[in-house]
Symmetry: D2
Subunit: 344 residues, 4 copies
């Protein structure tokens, strides 16, 4: 951080400010004296500082400028520029998520409707090459009158699908009160877009062992998103996967959200964490999923999450964005050979 | 809802669709047959229906159009066009929020820092005319490294401030696990902008008795917001106050958010619920609070929430948007006489 | 501007960069040498510089930070903190726009439909207290199949309305080719939201004498807007009025745009130019105009632009947002006494 | 369009409304009478109608719903579902833009700086496989103090580059007054994002023969964009190419705009017009261009526009988003073989 002092500041005030900074915030203060202005550089854990609080310390402070990112464990520099691998155990063996690994596909229905449908879907997506089954037991719905998920009984159905196929399970946890039950079944815990800044939940998934899939909030900046990841990381859980699923913009007529694929190269310059793209929520229409899935792979995503339902027309939620198993077969066959992982 | 059928549909298919609609969704179906097109009108609890699910029922369905709002208990029609009153008990007596009551001012610091500061602030804002003290015990912060609130001990300090002044207490609950503890002290439970679609939390505050202050999410549409209120109402708690605190737009350089004051007349046409405006979060700068507070009152708000801190420069959070007690005195003196409540 | 150099830069490179900066950009360079980092401060016409171009000058440059605004003639500092007055001659006498003058109301229909309606409307709005008549001769319409305005013949009708009432005329110019014809009739030239960054047009209205009403583009930041004003000012025309008319956000269901009233206090801290608010376009519905007009005055606007049509139901454009003359009478009677101009 | 009448409407009023609709708007009106509600279907050129004007016709009208798109010549149905080809003559032969043709690459600098640089760049991009040279003679710049382009003399330099290489020329026209001069040199006229709703300009480029590249405005919805294309088409020029170059969203920290690649599949369902993507403006950083260019091709774009500058660090505009000729060589070599045009 850079603190610019006002012209004409007495040198005694410069000393007062420098000492206050180094004492209060535990940073090293480096003074640069020019003819008209004096500039202080702060060295240390500046990610923990807030511009406004420094600004308010002393009326001789003209401006405070941040010149580094406020996230730390999520930053690329934290791993010296090396991408991290999130390794997930599944009955079929370990699956690695990351820049240096093959494309991972997660597929399944929006919500778990009954045991037959979830087991059947699991078999189909496994046959097509998916490594994980997605499916909601607890569903965040805009309306209280919409289907809210089957809850605990759906967790049992997911467990049955896991036993039947060996696929890993990714499912959402919406409430800290459900965490233990969900973590018993899930191989990866999903924190949904609407809960991306539910900090109580982030802290608790950070304090347990299962890997976390962190969906980007619909109006979260990339920085907000990485700060949410930082919550999980700072509690001790290093296994976070970032999932883009579309942001909210002024145009919502033909797509449900605006899928922001530029986050792929942007995140590569900022963080070591693996990247997943969800073109199903990103577009909201199954016919738009294949082109956007291909685009995601071309842009370098590490993983994809795709909604597949045995009968989208009868789905209890998100039918319009769900592919049929046959459509998914064709797409997976096209995608899986394409991803040549970068060399380690 | 209106279901438009494709030209050339056989009359047998019209029957099949009509019956399926009335059976599956428990609505009355009214058929309008024209020369080229047949249109079905659905009458009943259509707030519970989803366009997409109906669309997917049958390939002869051309389009499904919603012609009524998806919220019900929150709608103005639910109370036959009459504004509701949210009455809150405080040690100083009942306070009424609503279109037909005088302006209510809620004031206090962003977070409860220590007992002395919160009691002192409470005394000052009470003297200026505020009826409620705000103050965060649990703080949602973008960074895990920022001050997170003093938690339970802050709740005790709020209780002390309440005893000392008789003001009602409004404070945020962030996690269902803390609900009981917060509800013991708070006279109104605040659900923050980041948790506006934390549906687990909404259901639980809806299933208890304390009134709820529901802040609008930074990217929530008015409809999303009213649907979130519907979650609380549908669980049985009729006492919801809606609080606008700024939305996220493309311009974030000079204000923290964009305060959307047009929600005041918009909400009046849609809902019976009382309206509060928070110009402190809405602008992020204390110097912008007085003009926006005056504008809010001129546009007809029922209540205001304003951040006041005895020493904004030393605040542990949100210092730049906090007014001093003296500044607040002057503002409240200007605002309180202005609001002439509409006649009942 | 502040140029931060990388640690370890040889002093010869510091000299090379300093000289290049002062030669290429004609600024004074002030060097501040610290223990680890050297910082260069640039003094002079830095509004003309671009961060990126400086960043690219030399690989030893770590970061370039702008610490002042890129606009100059539009800035508050350009007039040493004093608000400017835009004085407009009308047949009824000079009208002053600015912080230190009474509220000015501009009213009239979206488009000039025929001579009778525009003269009649002019008489009504004059009687209610408006000082200017608005009315489009050339209309920017989203669809090529919508009414595009009567063009030159409408200018003649506006001239007739001016003769009949003595009101000043504000009308939009959409094409540099029409500038001369429009300027012959208009007392104030309006540049519409869609043309806010039509730089060819801005330069030409800047190179003539009539005052300019510059509407904010629907996705223009406050900075973009002031830079557009700077185009006009830098061509020699000092008479620019800024008009907020709503921005485009994610929520467009109940209002046409989101009226951003916080620009009023924000602009007061940045610029000396007068401010107008257009709640008709800002909300898109006539019933929302009175509360938002009152809010604008409470927040300190210098002027209001309000759409009035003798028969909104038959209007060729923007009927839903037009008030009737009777509705406008009532609103103007409430608004005009309220504005107490700030002391000079 | 569907007009829903209020319950209890007398049949005489239904007749009055039906006749007024068919007379005023020249549409066929089809009546559907149900038990409680009567619905009118409007058949004909409903693209030309406005909901609000119909709504205002009669107080018995409850709601007006649009069930078809407001654009016509731009719609996919206008060509019976067939993609159109925009054929452009260049000295090197005709180049076809469209879904059924190979990928076309347009490359070159942001602005034409001098003859040597533009000829040199043209040779390099031609050698790499580009078919068109881009380069601005007239530059829309946010600041009046930034380089505004060399104007007419730059047009001569583009002409020289065309002679030297045989590449087609794409350059922007910003003012109707310059149209003739620009059209003399350009093979394709570019209408920039800031002028996408400069309707005077759209009409004039629609009334001449050169193909038009229509960039999407930064806050234009897909519908606004297609309506802007409709302006050009309705004036008689059928040769319009649509170019996505990023939209403005709430997050502008790491990319200049948000490149909306989902427009590719969306536009395929709405329009027959060819599609181009500009990842240079879309991201604003040259390092993000290759992944987004690959993603664009994977999603099915017909053409790409890429900024290339012989020395980005010295560019007079947009240096940070320009690739070097060597970087462009590598990218083009990867992209050009990939696009397998769809079968005719």
């Amino acid at each position: 951080m850079i603190v610019i002092l006002k012209p004409g500041i007495p040198s005694s005030e410069v000393e007062i400010i420098s000492e206050a900074l180094s004492e209060q915030w535990n940073v090293k203060v480096e003074k640069s004296v020019g003819q008209h202005k004096t500039v202080l550089g702060l060295i240390g854990e500046t990610a923990l500082l807030h511009k406004d609080q420094i600004q308010n310390m002393n009326p001789w402070i003209e401006q405070v400028l941040r010149i580094e990112e406020p996230f730390k464990r999520a930053s690329l520099g934290f791993r010296h520029g090396q991408a991290s691998t999130v390794k997930v155990s599944t009955p079929n063996g370990d699956v690695d998520f990351g820049k240096n690994h093959p494309l991972v596909i997660v597929a399944g229905p929006c919500s778990v409707e009954n045991e037959e449908m979830i087991v059947e879907t699991a078999k189909r997506v496994k046959a097509a090459g998916a490594k994980f089954l997605r499916g909601g037991a607890y569903k965040p719905r805009t309306s209280p009158y919409s289907f809210q998920g089957h809850g605990e009984s759906a967790l049992e159905m997911l467990d049955a699908a896991r036993s039947a196929t060996g696929l890993g399970i990714i499912t959402e946890v919406m409430d800290t009160a459900d965490l233990e039950a969900v973590a018993e079944v899930a191989d990866v815990l999903q924190v949904g877009a609407r809960n991306m800044q539910n900090f109580a939940l982030l802290k608790k998934v950070g304090a347990q062992d299962k890997p976390v899939l962190l969906k980007r909030g619909i109006s979260a900046t990339v920085k907000d998103w990485l700060m949410a990841a930082e919550y999980v990381l700072s509690e001790g859980n290093p296994n976070v996967i970032l999932c883009e699923r579309g942001i909210r913009t002024f145009d919502r007529q033909y797509t449900r959200n605006t899928l922001d694929l530029s986050v792929i190269p942007v995140l590569r310059t900022l963080t070591h964490l693996p990247i997943m793209i969800d073109p199903s929520h990103g577009t909201g229409k199954s016919e738009f999923v294949p082109p956007m899935a291909k685009a995601s792979v071309a842009a370098g995503t590490d993983a994809l999450m795709i909604e597949v339902h045995p009968n989208p027309a009868k789905a209890l939620s998100d039918g319009p964005q769900s592919m049929t198993p046959n459509q998914f077969d064709a797409l997976a066959a096209e995608l899986l050979p394409q991803r040549v992982p970068a060399l380690v």
